[in-house]
Symmetry: C2
Subunit: 228 residues, 2 copies
């Protein structure tokens, strides 16, 4: 598939390289390609600068948000949650219409320091905000409840653990489920929570995740739902 | 121990009968004993009215919130979250001072219909609100992330699953951990999230719980943290 991944941070890089390895044609969207390529800081996961990582993946194409072509089969939002709406605006409605948009971001607000709070929650969610603003896009929330190395390598945990999925369009959820399975998720590990409003629950689980991350000192853990 | 359980609903009854079975001396607090005894509706878990259930437990004493004696060793808040602060006010500071208060309630707001939202969340929590209002009480949040039959019978799920604990006082958390173990929780299943502010995460997990409850059609499931 032609897949556009929005966001050139750790999550965007991790998802992009996985999809590239699986043989998909990846466009990696960023606010400003020139600035992204000039970044000096190393990615915590790869230990590499953006451009060093980018050189390792000759089939991935970096592109400004404003120049994303309209022919992607799928769009994945891996921007930071608070930058999501402005990023999507730069893509424009024509690029997003009738597209499946996988939203894996979280509306974390670091403006009051650590731990962050959520800038949207309880009676709304980021996924619902996207869906309201782009009613002709098929938004599916998933993968936002774990760290990115687990997203693309679920078998790195041995026991059962789960990934949640929320969205209004059943056909879109079938496409997302197939992609999750291609990435390595067992069908039995994917829990369809229901419509896009159920993304509230998936986003509001983040404060617990952040607590556990602080406690364990690593992000290699995930939520599991035990109903045995 | 002398344990006061606040709240005569399903959760309060379930916790009280378990503690009574374990040999503790239980006072069950309610807003108005006379009205509670006159209730006609049956408890969904026991199938009994309050008074029929109460007759089965001759060692449990029903008492108005305003008449709870000050000599309890432990207080458990099992009121509905939105009624908690008014219930505690009826107990009064003298009854709560220097006491361990286990808060198992959730600030669910049903005023906008289903699913409920949280009346406090994100930058605050019910547990923190109690702790601020009663600074000389040792508040420990726990057990609020599952249904009450699982609270008192954790082995009804075969695989691993967890109970969270938040509080500022380490001695109080040791007491709570011992009580959890007495109830049937393995020490390895109890996750200490940290200070009372970590109760935000434990309370904000409720929307996900409610989603899953709606999806599964039953409450016999629990969160597990997989870090294998």
């Amino acid at each position: 598939m032609k897949i556009t991944v929005l966001g050139s941070g750790i999550v965007g890089q991790t998802i992009s390289s996985k999809l590239d390895n699986l043989g998909h044609q990846v466009i990696l969207g960023t606010r400003n390609s020139k600035e992204t390529l000039a970044r000096l800081e190393a990615n915590r996961m790869t230990g590499k600068t953006f451009s060093a990582w980018y050189n390792d993946f000759p089939n991935i194409t970096l592109q400004d948000f404003g120049k994303i072509p309209a022919d992607s089969d799928l769009i994945i939002n891996a921007t930071s949650g608070n930058g999501t709406m402005s990023a999507l605006k730069m893509l424009g409605k024509s690029v997003l219409t009738k597209k499946v948009l996988i939203d894996i971001s979280n509306p974390l607000d670091f403006s009051r320091g650590m731990p962050p709070s959520l800038s949207i929650c309880n009676t709304d969610s980021l996924a619902e905000t996207i869906q309201r603003e782009y009613p002709d896009t098929y938004v599916v929330k998933t993968l936002n409840t774990m760290n990115c190395s687990l997203m693309v390598n679920p078998s790195s945990l041995t026991g059962d653990h789960h990934v949640f999925m929320s969205g209004n369009d059943n056909d879109a959820k079938v496409i997302v489920q197939e992609l999750l399975q291609e990435i390595g998720w067992k069908k039995s590990s994917i829990i369809d929570l229901g419509g896009i409003e159920s993304a509230r629950g998936a986003e509001m689980i983040l404060p617990m995740w952040l607590n556990l991350f602080g406690k364990f000192g690593h992000g290699t853990f995930n939520f599991a739902i035990n109903q045995s």
